[in-house]
């Protein structure tokens, strides 16, 4: 074999050198920070977008943006979005989409409202809501996966169908749940701790747990592989259909928690509960840096995306612009983020 054909590889003599693999493979230019930045470039990019946006807002109106009230209002509504944004990152990574979560939010929180109204403990209501969410997620997932339907269209259909059911039965009537205020469940899930809405702590816990699930658990590993190359995953013995159904179930659970939280904020269940979340939540996932093609994504990025999106509306108004500018800035942030992520992350084939 001529010299030019020698492969650029170490000689097998390296075999007899055991030791810490992290040391063994160390690259001279490897610094932990470099690795950290490369591994989290999408999330860090999203964070940069958020920081720039907030800086612009603060320069525009320093007084409003240093008052705690503004942040408290965002911190109350943000958790609701986080509980659906994070599971949606899993769905998009898996190569699917779920547009049925607003109706699942409405349906599960309706069950919660019914249980509480019937005089049972709100904890029981929460359990019932989560069970409903799981069931609906399984239903939607099975329809898409075993029915072999396009998840984009099928989940859109399910969204209308479930919302329609709610509307038919309730005929537009809302349910007031004034008894909630005295309950333990309210204190634990919806009160304030040192002036900070307690929901945000639960949401942060959920994001952290999900990020671990995504990066350090078999579920996350299989979701990514299935989204990346389903044929290969199948060949390697992964039950691809089962994994796909599981991500929809995860969205169902997240939507149930989100719906319940939104009811607990308002002490009222409306038949439209969850409706307004469809587009902001979807935008958050993609602003967060999860690409549409599947296989990769970032849970933390998605969470920062949700923070960004929820600050746009408050920010635009607080910065002194009229409400008419909100839509424009929503779009601007989405487009700029997408351009940034396109430049920031390469797609491997």
């Amino acid at each position: 074999m001529s010299k030019t054909m020698e492969p650029d590889l170490h000689e097998p003599s390296a075999i007899s050198r055991p030791g810490n693999p992290r040391e063994e493979w160390k690259h001279p230019s490897d610094h932990w920070m470099r690795g950290f930045i490369l591994d989290n470039r999408a999330a860090l990019g999203t964070l940069a977008v958020f920081v720039v946006m907030m800086t612009v807002f603060m320069i525009a109106n320093p007084t409003v943006f240093t008052t705690w009230y503004l942040y408290r209002s965002v911190l109350t509504t943000l958790p609701v979005a986080l509980f659906v944004v994070v599971p949606l990152v899993f769905v998009v990574t898996c190569g699917e989409i779920d547009l049925s979560f607003p109706a699942t939010m409405g349906f599960a929180s309706w069950v919660f409202a019914l249980v509480v109204q019937a005089g049972y403990d709100p904890f029981l209501g929460i359990a019932a809501a989560i069970a409903t969410g799981t069931l609906l997620g399984f239903l939607v997932g099975s329809l898409v996966v075993y029915g072999g339907l396009s998840s984009l269209i099928a989940t859109l259909g399910m969204n209308f169908l479930l919302r329609g059911l709610i509307q038919i039965i309730n005929e537009g009537r809302s349910t007031a749940l004034t008894s909630l205020a005295d309950s333990w469940a309210y204190k634990i899930f919806s009160s304030q701790l040192y002036g900070i809405p307690v929901q945000i702590f639960w949401a942060i816990g959920f994001v952290v747990l999900s990020a671990l699930l995504y990066n350090r658990h078999r579920f996350g590993a299989q979701v990514k592989v299935v989204g990346d190359n389903p044929d290969s995953a199948q060949q390697m013995g992964i039950d691809v259909k089962r994994v796909r159904v599981k991500v929809f179930v995860f969205v169902g659970i997240g939507a149930a928690i989100a719906g319940t939280f939104s009811v607990m904020i308002n002490f009222t269940w409306w038949p439209t509960a969850g409706d307004g979340y469809l587009l902001p939540v979807l935008a958050s996932v993609f602003v967060g840096g999860t690409p549409t093609w599947g296989g990769v994504g970032t849970v933390v990025g998605g969470a920062i995306g949700a923070v960004t999106v929820s600050f746009i509306q408050t920010g635009v108004v607080a910065a002194g612009l009229s409400g008419f500018y909100v839509q424009f800035f929503n779009g601007l942030i989405i487009i700029l983020s997408l351009l940034g992520h396109k430049w920031n992350q390469a797609r491997y084939r």
Binding site: A221, K224, A233
Partner: protein, 265 residues
């Protein structure tokens, strides 16, 4: 004589009236690289599918380590330690090397949490075993950043992790440059050195000649030639022979070597 890993005796496969394979004899010994050469339509793919248990032969006998097997299936093939590496679609290219090696059989602790350090350790061991080491990547590099030859290395490392005794490489060097081909050869030699066997399928005769210990030429569903490396002087010999098969009239000396039973003596 080394241990005989797998032996196919008089394997035929017909799809209706069409014969894909008509009485093929093929054997692979432990620690041997067998090169399977054949033109398109010679029956290579059918033979691979039979070996991996996806397709059942119409007639014939399969022996694993000398024992005849009944009820041959994909599961039986896997249990027997046969692993097929396809050139494309085998890897999830946006994932790390580690994730590809452990795809579908993640190393997990309680409750399904990944043993990340254990996986990296194990992946390093596997990669070292096939000489798949480099200064420019680590087990946590993304497969999409690797070259074509290196990707084959990931697939081979994965096959070894699955306890494969016989790795079938389906056209591993097609569409690869010389340097990349050299890398794949490097892995194949390391695998052989570890006592595993390889069935190397290709239609680039030069590639097969460079790497194989034994050559099997398939032609229209039959074994046209089985030859040890010592019996073939150069790749040109093989090419001449294959031309001869296509257009009959030469090289009688080689054709005598066609019977595997004779060769074994």
């Amino acid at each position: 004589m080394a241990e005989r890993l797998i032996e196919l005796r008089d394997i035929s496969k017909s799809y209706g009236q069409v014969y894909a394979l008509g009485g093929v004899n093929l054997s692979v010994d432990r620690g041997e690289v067998v090169g399977l050469i054949g033109d398109n339509g010679a029956g290579k793919s059918t033979l691979i599918k039979i070996l991996s248990g996806v397709v059942k032969p119409t007639s014939g006998e399969i022996l694993i380590r000398g024992q005849p097997v009944t009820g041959w299936s994909a599961a039986r093939s896997r249990d027997a330690g046969i692993e097929t590496v396809f050139q494309d679609r085998a890897l999830a290219v946006q994932q790390t090397i580690v994730r590809n090696i452990f795809m579908g059989r993640e190393l997990t602790g309680f409750f399904g949490w990944l043993k990340v350090n254990k996986e990296i350790e194990e992946a390093s061991r596997l990669m070292r075993e096939i000489g798949f080491t480099s200064k420019v990547f680590t087990p946590q590099s993304i497969v999409g950043q690797l070259s074509g030859g290196e990707r084959q290395g990931v697939a081979i490392a994965r096959a070894i992790y699955k306890q494969a005794d016989l790795i079938i490489l389906d056209e591993p060097t097609t569409a690869l440059s010389l340097t990349e081909t050299a890398k794949v050869f490097h892995f194949v030699r390391q695998v052989r050195a570890s006592g595993r066997s390889i069935l190397f399928i290709g239609h680039n005769i030069h590639h097969v000649f460079d790497i194989a210990d034994r050559f099997v030429v398939l032609d229209r569903g039959k074994v046209a030639l089985t030859a040890d490396r010592s019996q073939v002087k150069s790749a040109e010999d093989l090419i001449n022979f294959m031309e001869d098969v296509a257009h009959p009239g030469g090289l009688p000396g080689l054709r005598d070597a066609g019977d595997p039973e004779q060769r074994a003596r």
